[in-house]
Symmetry: C2
Subunit: 204 residues, 2 copies
């Protein structure tokens, strides 16, 4: 009968929409949600099977916490970290820092180095960014770096392009010691990063 046939078609269409809906629900269940950076949902950084750190990706879309400049011309022609430093923190650790005021286990900080491109522009004399030259990373991980002071390990991908693709952690005396001795908060130079200082709960 035409009536019965229409009912069957309606039922079939509804069933198909139901199946489509289910597939959609299942597909979205694994997808990241708004406000969370995709990079921060999985592993923020990757290691090789033998424990080397792979060059991080996507960090220029992380949270910038501050910049410094140690120009070669103020450091006898050879700055320890030439010359601009821009520091980033992974977004989830920043969100946690805003709540807790400390660096959670798993925090990743990236220090990207750039040359000085110009020393005078229309806005005055000073130091202006040139090209990217170097990259370094520090990671706090109480399992992977349980033997490092503060559980912080440091990695340098070089101060000159092309950078290394993957690197072993630096010896403890090369980076960790100086951070332990001089950094204001938990091996991090928060005294130089006003974005972090302003984000900490005590400042709210």
């Amino acid at each position: 009968m035409p009536g019965s046939s229409r009912t069957s078609v309606t039922t079939m269409v509804t069933v198909l929409i139901g199946i489509a809906g289910l597939i959609f629900i299942l597909a979205r269940a694994g997808a990241p949600i708004a406000g969370a950076e995709p990079a921060a949902r999985g592993a923020v950084v990757e290691f090789t099977p033998d424990g080397k750190l792979k060059q991080p990706v996507g960090y220029r879309q992380w949270i910038y916490v501050g910049a410094s400049v140690t120009p070669n011309d103020l450091n006898g022609g050879k700055a320890l970290f030439p010359e601009f430093h821009a520091i980033y923190i992974d977004p989830e650790s920043f969100a946690d820092y805003k709540e807790a005021g400390k660096f959670r286990d798993g925090t990743v900080l990236v220090k990207e180095l750039s040359s000085i491109g110009s020393k005078e522009t229309t806005s005055g004399k000073g130091y202006f960014l040139g090209d990217f030259t170097g990259l370094a990373v520090s990671i706090k991980d109480s399992k992977r770096f349980k033997d490092e002071p503060g559980n912080w390990a440091y990695f340098s991908f070089g101060h000159k392009y092309p950078l290394e693709a993957e690197v072993s952690k630096s010896p403890t005396f090369a980076c960790n010691k100086c951070h332990q001795d001089s950094a204001k908060q938990d091996w991090v130079f928060t005294q130089n990063y006003n974005v972090l200082r302003a984000a900490a709960p005590r400042s709210k």
Copy 2:
């Protein structure tokens, strides 16, 4: 009959799942997707009814594009923009810039100023961030600022805290002219912002 009853129940359950699926699809259609900052989905900045720009919020979680430093001590004690400058772009306009290599209508750039906190640390001599001191914003909007050269308007919330809560746009000669004359790309000093240069499609 039991058989017919089971069929009816199965059909009804399937129909309900179908409706649930439809509701879910419709609900998610309007929701932001991963990777897009929630702040960038609505209005990135807000204006008062009489056209003043309200102080932007959340910009420290936008995309950092570069920093410069024009210290007072290199500018006769009074830098035009004292002293550290950190520049941010709103996330959606950055995503668009990566694809198109140009600044879309609606682009918002924030320049946050900080004092110099230190001139020497364990990493050498140079300039290190102090406290936040100032805030300025530029906006490209072909409707709201159709009479401004390049459709860019400039706003300064001050160079000393406390900043203004809302401000009128600066006169064209005060900011726009210099940007028009000296900025490398579309009123923006991309020559000083290596993050933007590296993100532009021609660099890929």
